[in-house]
């Protein structure tokens, strides 16, 4: 890998939950010691369950939150602030209903960043808007409409067009497809990859859905309670997950094949409160393999190969081969038929 586009070193984020003048401090540590890099044109996925800190990390990268401790490097340099950061990094948020100013038309929404950064003039703005709309697969007429008149998928396309308007090098997609209908999720995921192929933009793809992450990302970082527990190329990580938490996540994801479920690595209990973190390894309270060592020493994220893992037992646990059930032959041919017909229709 060449020099990374984005590099995070030792990022820590604390929130003070105390309210008012006299309340004593209550510190919630949302992120702790995050080291991560995103390469040029790469898709890095952050996965994990609610409360793991993945969205907080995305907002720190986008400049919406300051990190309490740690260094962020963009292109080997400190990232810009305000307008300068906007040219480098953009974010597409989860809620397609809340992410667009309802008082502005689609055309205004997309023209706004271009005008602000001098990438278009009043005269050239309509052409730029039309170009961006085409890029995200929306008809030009949408420019005159308001967000409330659009479907969730269309709004998310508008949000993507707006993010592209500043020509960023990195787009943070924070659960950008999670709120959409299943049939529309694939459209938006395809669109992001298509734009990446065309513009070379890097993607930080934040998601709780493992199967989608497996499909579209180059590398994956699995997060648990403010830490990265395993990180590496998606293909390796999904074929032979090493951290017990990654294994549990993969095995808990329902597969669309009846009868495939039963022998899953069930986790007991739930994520502990980030206000009362366990000693040692944060995952040990739910880990089926936890030992005395795990309760005493916090395992660092290490590894010689492409995969880094934060588990004392990573080398001693038996290899876990993920076997994805194959779809039935007849289903596969039905899907192939569908794909061919859809392709023929698009071509026509």
């Amino acid at each position: 890998m060449t020099a990374p586009l984005l590099e995070l070193r030792g990022i820590r984020k604390e929130f003070n939950l105390a309210r008012g003048f006299f309340a004593s401090k209550r510190i919630l540590t949302a992120l702790d010691g995050i080291d991560l890099a995103v390469g040029q044109g790469e898709t890095l996925a952050l996965v994990g369950e609610s409360g793991c800190g993945k969205s907080t990390l995305g907002r720190i990268v986008a400049g919406l939150l300051p990190a309490t401790v740690g260094t962020i490097l963009f292109d080997g340099d400190q990232p810009g602030r305000g307008k300068a950061r906007a040219r480098q990094i953009q974010i597409v948020m989860q809620d397609p209903f809340g992410a667009l100013n309802p008082k502005m038309s689609v055309g205004e929404l997309i023209a706004e960043p271009a005008l602000l950064h001098g990438l278009a003039t009043r005269r050239t703005a309509p052409a730029r808007v039309a170009e961006l709309l085409r890029l995200v697969g929306l008809p030009e007429g949408v420019a005159q409409r308001y967000p409330h008149a659009l479907s969730g998928g269309q709004r998310q396309r508008v949000a993507i067009a707006r993010a592209l308007a500043t020509d960023p090098k990195l787009i943070v997609a924070d659960e950008a497809v999670s709120a959409l209908d299943v049939s529309v999720q694939a459209q938006i995921a395809n669109l992001l990859k298509e734009i990446q192929a065309r513009t070379g933009v890097s993607l930080l793809f934040i998601s709780h859905g493992l199967s989608l992450v497996h499909h579209i990302s180059d590398r994956v970082a699995v997060m648990y309670l403010g830490r990265i527990v395993e990180e590496g190329p998606a293909a390796d990580l999904f074929a032979r997950p090493r951290h017990p938490y990654t294994r549990a996540l993969i095995s808990a994801t329902p597969e669309p094949v009846p009868g495939a479920a039963p022998d899953r690595l069930a986790l007991t209990g739930e994520v502990p409160s980030p206000l009362a973190l366990p000693t040692g390894c944060r995952f040990r309270t739910r880990c089926p393999h936890a030992t005395k060592l795990c309760a005493e020493v916090d395992p660092p994220l290490t590894g010689e190969g492409p995969v880094r893992v934060a588990c004392h037992l990573a080398d001693s646990l038996p290899t876990y081969h993920v076997q994805k059930p194959r779809p039935a032959a007849r289903l596969q041919s039905a899907i192939d038929l569908y794909r061919a017909a859809a392709a023929a229709q698009t071509a026509a």
Binding site: S151, G153, S183, H214, I216, T253, P254, V271, I335, L337
Partner: protein, 345 residues
Amino acid sequence: MKHMPQDTMLTTDITRPDPLLVAQGLTVTFATDQGPLRALDAVDLTLAPGETLAVVGESGSGKSVLSLALMGLLPGTARIEADSLTFEGRDLTAITERDFRALRGTGMSMIFQEPATALNPVRRIGDQIVEAIRLHEDIPVRKARTRAIEALAATGIPAPAERAEAFPHQLSGGMRQRALIAMALVHRPRLLIADEPTTALDVTVQAQILDLIRDLARETGTATLFITHDMGVVAEMADRVAVLYAGRLVETAPSAALFSSPEHPYTVGLLGSMPQMNARGEPMLPIQGTVPDPRVMPPGCHFHPRCPFAAGACLTDRPALRQVRPGQMSACHNAPLIETLGGAT
């Protein structure tokens, strides 16, 4: 439940003389400012005792309206019409509100996507379950309390006696869903309607709750109507599947048949758009377009504007739900798909 009922109304009547729930031509219309809005359009469903039927659909498919209609919980602006709508042989369209109330809780019961909204935020969990018990059973509070704690224990809540003293906001989402399940099953209803019960939960907690619902339903012999948009959850839970699109039933089949040989293009699209069904790095197969606005439903087949196979009759004639193979019905002019379309391309 390993026994697969023979699906269609006619055959079900022969093999199983007393289905638990029968809906024929179930239509729900809402009066709105912009005129009537048909949320469900002539839906036929049967559910055998102890069976798990998954109802799959996206937003606007009418799946939540269906569950509320069966529970008699639709608002006054809704009009329900049906050729037949019976639960254990009783006509639900003719039943009084008082009888319906008695039926809810004892005969049928429901759990929701967001358990926080289904629980009273200012009352302790235990008290709410006690109240639910005593609503239908005349037993002393102390006895009801013991029952409530047993019910919580059965859902795998650790330290149930202590959790019974907690208020809903003191529990995590997964624990709240367990408490709601405990409350829903306390009278051992014959039917449990589960409306997206795991959508708001994390995947590892979802796995626990799915296991719990499956185990409890099996134990108590409760039939489950499981409403979801997630085909993975369907594969895991369902004996039989009904696919809803834009208010209409487009396919029903035993789970094994649906996943091995779907016979409606929408079902194929739903399965095909799952990342698992696509090769890594390749573009995923999307369903083009979006769900139609219920006020301007397309003519003919509701799915035709998004269907890659749509042609001729699809644009003008509503396809009837017809049997493609035993137990499997599809509302598509082109079913069986591979036989009809395979040669053409």
